[in-house]
């Protein structure tokens, strides 16, 4: 499990006790009860309920918040009391029954929502499933809405998420593997992939990296992402995070791996390329021309969001002669009364915008709208009238912001906006020369970046002409006969002449 010859870390007292060594249970209920109570340090939500079956004292022990009252009554207490027998295995109708003589196992079962049934005079502990699996209702993810297509979104319950996936891929080859990570939280992580399609090396690599995680807690998929990604210092997200089951399904059927985490509706997809962040499931719901145009618009939005302010800064502060006279007169006249150099102007506007965005994101909707109006209209107009920022700069920054919001993935949009700042600095210092070098740096980085053995900027670098048809543009589905080559799926073909009916039509 662990690489190298490093000694395993010993668990600290506050971490989850390793159940490697077992602790033999006692013969009397009272002793067992005492042990369990001590194991939980007399926590108040650990409940004990005594039942007497055939004059034998029994105790049902459970963690109140984790267990479902309904299940506890219907599947355990009611049958037992009605039949009044000690033949527990036969009577209890729980989904899962484990019998153990190890008190450690009972403790870890209790933390997972099991009830432990103790019977006086025997060492056997019955560990019975009574888990309360409530989760919120399935809703459409707020940050990945579509006009047409599925409006289903993942929820915080991993089992329900897996159910949504299984419903979409009704295939015995769909394999789910569970991992436990987090020494203090013991969080459930699951990976899902299609056996016989996915590259086995990829699965092994993902498993190896997840198993290497040694941390107290795993709160969000972001933790997992940072622990297992290839280049932690890259500004680009290297795993696609989505809350949409249809998006995950599409990627899994292309031979990729999805990672679920208990307690989070976002799932991670790997390996992905840069262009996966610019695709939306919606592309396949509209006519393919429209899908293509939408994708091209998004690629343009990438360039705008990245470089538009820098190009403007470089032009007005270094190379205003590049523009024709009429245009430059317009720009210069709007700049005339502004006391700041273009870089400062741009920074003021960009920072104001980021502030507005950050402020609005956490506010309830009606207030957020107010902020939008105050920020967009009031500040926008006032800042120009106060001659702090020029009209042109407002246009540029607004265009940049709109472009960055056109990216279907939130992380990518943030990364690009952040990358814009060093570019602005470079073009304010060196003009076009600086801008070209800055963009080259980003491009070199993109060319060199690899995630899970897949070149990140494929199919542009390395250049694969045939794969442009599902990355830059979108051709009709029946022309996408093959899966992307970089995933290294075991089977390349994914479509077999679905329009062959057309050939027979003339007869």
């Amino acid at each position: 499990m662990r690489r190298g010859t490093r000694k395993p870390y010993r668990n600290k007292p506050y971490q989850i006790p390793t159940s490697a060594e077992s602790y033999q249970s006692f013969f009397t209920v009272e002793e067992n009860k005492q042990y369990l109570s001590d194991a939980f340090y007399q926590t108040d939500d650990l409940k004990f309920r005594e039942v007497v079956l055939k004059d034998v004292k029994c105790i049902i022990c459970y963690l109140d918040p984790l267990t479902s009252e309904d299940k506890l009554q219907k599947t355990i207490i009611k049958p037992l009391l009605e039949r009044n027998e000690l033949n527990i295995e036969k009577i209890v109708t729980s989904k899962e029954i484990r019998i153990s003589t190890n008190l450690h196992e009972a403790v870890s079962g209790l933390t997972k929502g099991f009830a432990v049934f103790l019977v006086d005079g025997t060492q056997h502990l019955y560990i019975l499933e009574a888990f309360a699996g409530e989760s919120r209702a399935v809703t459409e993810p707020v940050n990945e809405q579509v006009v047409r297509g599925s409006h289903e979104g993942f929820v915080e319950n991993i089992m329900q998420n897996l159910q949504m996936l299984r419903r979409r891929i009704e295939n015995p080859n769909l394999v789910v593997k569970f991992f436990k990570a987090g020494k203090a939280t013991d969080t459930k992580i699951a990976i899902a992939y299609i056996q016989n399609l996915v590259n086995p090396d990829l699965v092994a690599e993902v498993e190896r990296r997840i198993n290497a995680i040694e941390a107290d807690s795993i709160q969000t998929p972001g933790y997992v992402e940072e622990f297992i990604e290839d280049e932690p210092f890259s500004p680009f997200p290297q795993m696609l995070s989505t809350e949409r089951p249809d998006r995950l399904t599409a990627h899994i059927t292309e031979g990729r791996i999805g990672v679920f985490m208990e307690g989070s509706p976002s799932t991670l997809i790997m390996p992905v390329t840069f262009f996966a962040f610019y695709q939306s499931p919606e592309d396949y719901n509209s006519r393919w021309y429209i899908g293509t145009v939408l994708r091209l618009i998004r690629i343009t939005s990438f360039i705008f969001a990245l470089a538009l302010p820098s190009v403007y800064i470089a032009t007005v502060s270094f190379h205003s002669e590049i523009l024709p006279a009429e245009l430059i007169l317009n720009i210069k006249s709007s700049l005339e009364n502004v006391p700041f150099p273009p870089l400062i102007e741009a920074l003021i506007m960009q920072i104001t915008l980021e502030l507005l965005r950050e402020a609005a994101i956490r506010l309830p909707n009606p207030i957020a709208q107010t902020i939008g109006i105050v920020g967009g209209l009031v500040i926008g107009t006032a800042i120009v009238e106060a001659n702090l920022v020029s009209n042109m700069m407002i246009i540029i920054v607004a265009l940049t912001a709109i472009s960055s919001f056109a990216v279907p993935s939130y992380e990518m949009s943030m990364s690009i906006r952040l990358l814009g700042f060093p570019l602005m600095l470079l073009s304010a210092t060196f003009g076009f020369i600086g801008l070209v070098f800055g963009l080259s740096m980003i491009l070199i980085h993109l060319c060199g970046l690899e995630t899970f053995g897949t070149p990140y900027f494929s199919p542009l670098a390395p250049f694969r002409f045939s794969e442009l048809k599902d990355s830059i543009i979108r051709v009709p589905r029946w022309l996408l006969g093959k899966r992307p080559i970089d995933v290294h799926a075991q089977e390349q073909r994914q479509e077999w002449f679905s329009r062959r009916w057309k050939r027979n039509e003339d007869e």
């Binding site: 590049i322 020369i433 070209v436 080259s440 070199i444 670098a461």
Partner: protein
């Protein structure tokens, strides 16, 4: 879990192409003009033909040792000690080429775009970016060179746009200076076409060796020759012979005069694209120097050696930078490059053929 550090033969094409296209392109028309007059563009085509022959020999040499670079196979051909000296010379050559690229870049940028920016800042920009590119190893260079090569298209379109003001009479009569002069001027052409020798250092990393690699190298040479001949031709039909004698960088001058719809100074766009070509050539030479040092010092990684080469060339390039010194340096470098790109490889090939030295059959 990384992909292999190999390149496809298509990427070999772009590596050779981008290494060849570099700083020289701006001053090429003038230097050819001083040699062969208005027939300079014919000279270029001849140069391309000569280089094609050299490329074939380089290919034959590399193909005798398909899994080693020049640094690795030289000892097998001429013995340990001579090979050591040769490797040192090649490293020195790579560093001096990098220095020349840096200096020419700096003077051009200073002349055309950034008049008052400190020299070191401009040099640092190129050094940092070039080093970052070169340490990414060959696969990253291959991918990057391939993707930026698309920028050559707008470059050609810009130059082609000036043809509307062309006057064909400037280059007539064709061949007025006689074949001898044209042939003699090829030595001026070869200097700016240098870079094809990179094949000696990247060949072991090519996936499909043999005919496909030769085809890539030849096509790269053809592409460079056509591009240069075209650019030279456009300047020759744009400027009168009198003007050409006076203008040091005619392509930029030419583009300064034209304007597209909303772009009044096309030369700035041209120079911005040209920078990338300079960067790629520079990175290639850093790489050549770097793997040499890596081989001689028996290191595992190329990162350290490449950074050393970059720092050394940066320091050297800060010493001299008036136009005269650069020109003298360039001419020394040009003479030296005949040995490194033509003489030594051909000699090595002849020796290896005579002594029947090949990989495996040592």
């Amino acid at each position: 879990m990384k992909t292999n550090n190999t390149i496809h033969s298509t990427q070999l094409f772009f590596i050779i192409f981008q290494t060849q296209v570099g700083v020289g392109v701006l001053s090429l028309p003038t230097s050819l003009y001083s040699g062969a007059g208005a027939d300079g563009w014919i000279t270029l085509i001849l140069t391309g033909a000569i280089i094609q022959g050299v490329i074939y020999i380089l290919y034959l040499l590399s193909n005798r040792f398909p899994s080693s670079t020049l640094y690795e196979f030289a000892p097998k051909i001429v013995g340990k000690y001579i090979a050591f000296v040769l490797s040192l010379l090649y490293i020195a050559f790579a560093i001096s080429t990098a220095v020349i690229v840096l200096e020419l870049f700096e003077t051009t940028v200073k002349t055309w775009v950034l008049f008052r920016t400190p020299m070191l800042a401009i040099l640092l920009l190129l050094t940092l970016t070039g080093t970052y590119l070169a340490v990414g190893k060959l696969k990253v260079m291959g991918r990057f060179y391939q993707i930026v090569s698309i920028l050559i298209v707008p470059l050609v379109i810009m130059a082609a746009y000036t043809l509307k003001d062309a006057d064909l009479r400037y280059i007539l009569p064709i061949g007025e200076n006689g074949f001898g002069t044209i042939l003699k001027a090829t030595q001026k052409g070869i200097v700016s076409m240098l870079g094809f020798e990179v094949i000696l250092f990247v060949y072991p990393y090519v996936q499909d060796k043999g005919k496909a690699a030769l085809k890539s190298a030849s096509l790269a040479n053809l592409a460079v020759t056509s591009l240069y001949a075209f650019l030279t031709f456009t300047t020759y039909v744009f400027f009168s012979p009198k003007q050409l004698e006076m203008i040091p960088e005619p392509i930029v001058y030419m583009l300064k005069g034209v304007s597209f719809i909303i772009v009044d100074r096309v030369d700035l766009l041209f120079l911005s694209i040209w920078i990338i070509s300079v960067m790629t050539s520079y990175a290639s030479y850093l790489y050549i120097g770097g793997i040499g040092i890596q081989y001689l010092t028996k290191r595992k990684k190329t990162t350290g050696p490449i950074i050393i080469v970059a720092i050394v060339s940066l320091i050297l390039s800060t010493f001299t930078h008036d136009r005269y010194t650069i020109e003298t340096l360039s001419s020394y470098h040009a003479n030296a490059s005949y040995f490194f790109a033509l003489g030594i490889p051909i000699l090595l090939w002849i020796i290896s053929v005579i002594t029947k030295k090949k990989e495996g059959a040592a």
